[in-house]
Amino acid sequence: MQTFIIRRLLIGVVILFILSVTVFFLLRVVPGDPAIRRCGLGCTEEQLAAIREELGLNKSYAAQYWDWMSGVLTGDLGQANFTGRPVSESIQQRLPVTLELMLLAMIFTILIGIPFGVISAVFRNTPADYLVRVVAVFGLAVPVFWVATLVLIIPLEVWGYAPPLGVKISPIEDPWGNFKQMAPAAAVLAIASAAGIMRLMRSSLLEVMRQDYMRTARAKGLKERSVILAHGLKNSLIPVITVLGLQISGLLGGAIIVEQIFNLPGLGDYTFRALFANEFEVVQTMTLYAGATVVIINLIVDVSYAWLDPRIRYS
């Protein structure tokens, strides 16, 4: 188990290294001079040189990469010009918002996806099953930004209601206000992932229900309820948990859109604004953090298999 975790962590480091180099070059080697774009038209050579100096663009790529990486590793992320504040300070302020958004979206995904998937499998080919499947198919087809827009403007136009927007409400001082602010955004963000989990849960449980041990459980006189919940559910969760882990990267991408629409001061919004302000180092850093999050969560997912299915041993 330990060797497995260490090996996976090493692969994770390799993945993050490839990611960092790729993003670094995507943002730099592309034709078009960032200094010119930043300075605008009618820029003098001296101004350009000053900007290049300030951004470190006059150094070699290797030196630029080294400067950035050593900053990331030591936690010294420097100043961001578009906010006029240190990057690490902004991250500290904004991380809780995105973290809460992700966490709530995951909770919604699990609370909606798993029970309805189970209902769909247990009552397959009944109206309940058809309903769940139709909802899931639509859930995978609707654009997040469209639902988010409608969720904001329809209540406003019809009832004159708007959730608290644009300000950060602390979940400790005002839990209800915070929930009113975060829940709609998290629910919209969770639509696609919940729909995916519903479908996967259904097919996975149907697969398990064909297994011999399910027949054995029924034969020894267990109630149908405990057959499904104790024997079926746990065994059918493995693919579901794998996909839950993979959905993190989709949710992180969706957070950029949802934070824009619901005006939440989170990291998605920060990254988006940094990108438009041509703040390369900030975008690179945020990308790397997003990648690291995904790598770590998928490692946790892999380790959790051993708990779900004791037959799985890592060596």
Binding site: I11, V14, I15, I18, L19, T22, V23, L26, L27, V30, P31, G32, V137, F138, L140, A141, V142, P143, V144, F145, W146, V147, T149, L150, L152, I153, I154, L156, E157, G196, R199, L200, R202, S203, L206, L246, S249, G250, L252, G253, G254, I256, I257, Q260, I261, T271, F272, L275, F276, V283, T287, A290, G291, V294, V295, N298
Partner: protein, 314 residues
């Protein structure tokens, strides 16, 4: 004696050719049976055909041009303007019809291009194995670990086609967005095709080809490719819906193709300033949903027919 000699090389192809070709009625009945067995796939196909028809004949279907201002602002849906008018007084129905062109064209081109490249890379990765395979697979891992939307944003914002597009005389905005979406398609296709190649390459026909001295590219493209092509096409169908969503999201965030009618951009315009007009946000988004729904339903049906083991696996 001579009869037997003639019978020996009789192949399946000859037998198929010898059969009377089915009449039109029989073919239609067969099509009807397939449609009845896959009602959802049929709905999906009809939705897609509807939208493709709409995109091809858009200028003749749309009563007004995309930039035309035929009415007063923010009208509700009615007999003059089926979907109402937006904040500038443009006909929403016309803009929805015209917007189908960009969505479908960009999605088709980038999925076909990306899937072809993905298949090529997947075949090379699976067939060569060793360090080539490792490097490709770690890169694919990286791409999959990465929020696709962030990658798309970085590529579209970094404008890699500022200069090449001018040389090639192509539209830079189209080139950029198609390139970005192609990159998003490649990793998934690569992974699936590599898996198929790994199991194909142990088959006897590969060994037979190698034993008569065929060189690797020939084995890859004459023997392995046809065997994984069907799989590639299945994956492609199931990716189209997601790519349409991705394109719409980029347009919504202001990184689409400027100047043209686009569903994503129209939803974004509708949410920008007070007073909001619900139809202006509703109809373009509904068009996206129905298109994606069509592709997803068709993709599921094709996958079920091609490989029943994959049923409902997404």
């Amino acid at each position: 004696m001579s009869n037997q000699a003639a019978a020996a090389p009789f192949t399946i192809a000859d037998e198929l050719a010898a059969r009377p070709s089915p009449s039109l009625g029989a073919r239609l009945r067969k099509l009807g049976t397939m449609a009845r067995q896959n009602p959802l796939g049929t709905i999906g196909l009809l939705l897609i055909l509807g939208f493709v028809f709409m995109a091809v004949f858009a200028p003749w279907i749309a009563p007004y041009g995309a930039g035309e201002l035929p009415g007063t602002k923010n009208q509700s849906p009615g007999s003059d303007f089926w979907f109402g008018t937006n904040r500038s007084g443009q006909d929403i129905f016309s803009r929805v019809v015209l917007g189908s062109r960009i969505s479908l064209a960009v999605a088709f081109i980038s999925v076909i291009g990306g899937a072809s490249l993905g298949m090529l890379i997947g075949i090379i990765s699976g067939y060569s194995g060793g360090s080539v395979d490792s490097v490709i697979q770690r890169t694919v891992d990286t791409a999959i670990a990465f929020p696709a939307l962030l990658l798309l944003l970085i590529i579209t914002q970094s404008r890699p086609f500022e200069k090449p597009a001018a040389w090639l005389h192509v539209n830079e905005d189209y080139a950029t967005i198609i390139f970005a979406l192609m990159l998003a398609v490649i990793p998934g296709v690569t992974r699936v095709v590599r898996g198929a190649v790994l199991s194909e390459k142990n088959n006897q026909y590969v060994e037979a080809a190698r034993s008569i001295g065929a060189w690797s590219p020939r084995i890859l493209f004459r023997h392995v490719l046809p065997n994984v092509l069907a799989l590639g096409i299945i994956v492609m169908t199931s990716l189209l819906g997601g790519i349409i969503l991705a394109e719409a999201s980029l347009s919504f965030l202001g990184l689409g193709i400027p100047g043209a009618a686009s569903w994503g951009q129209d939803v974004n315009t509708a949410r920008q300033d007070y007073p909001y007009h619900i139809p202006a946000a509703f109809f373009p988004g509904a068009a996206i949903t129905l298109t994606v729904l069509g592709f997803n339903l068709l993709g599921d049906a094709i996958r079920d027919i091609a490989d029943p083991r994959l049923r409902g696996s997404r």
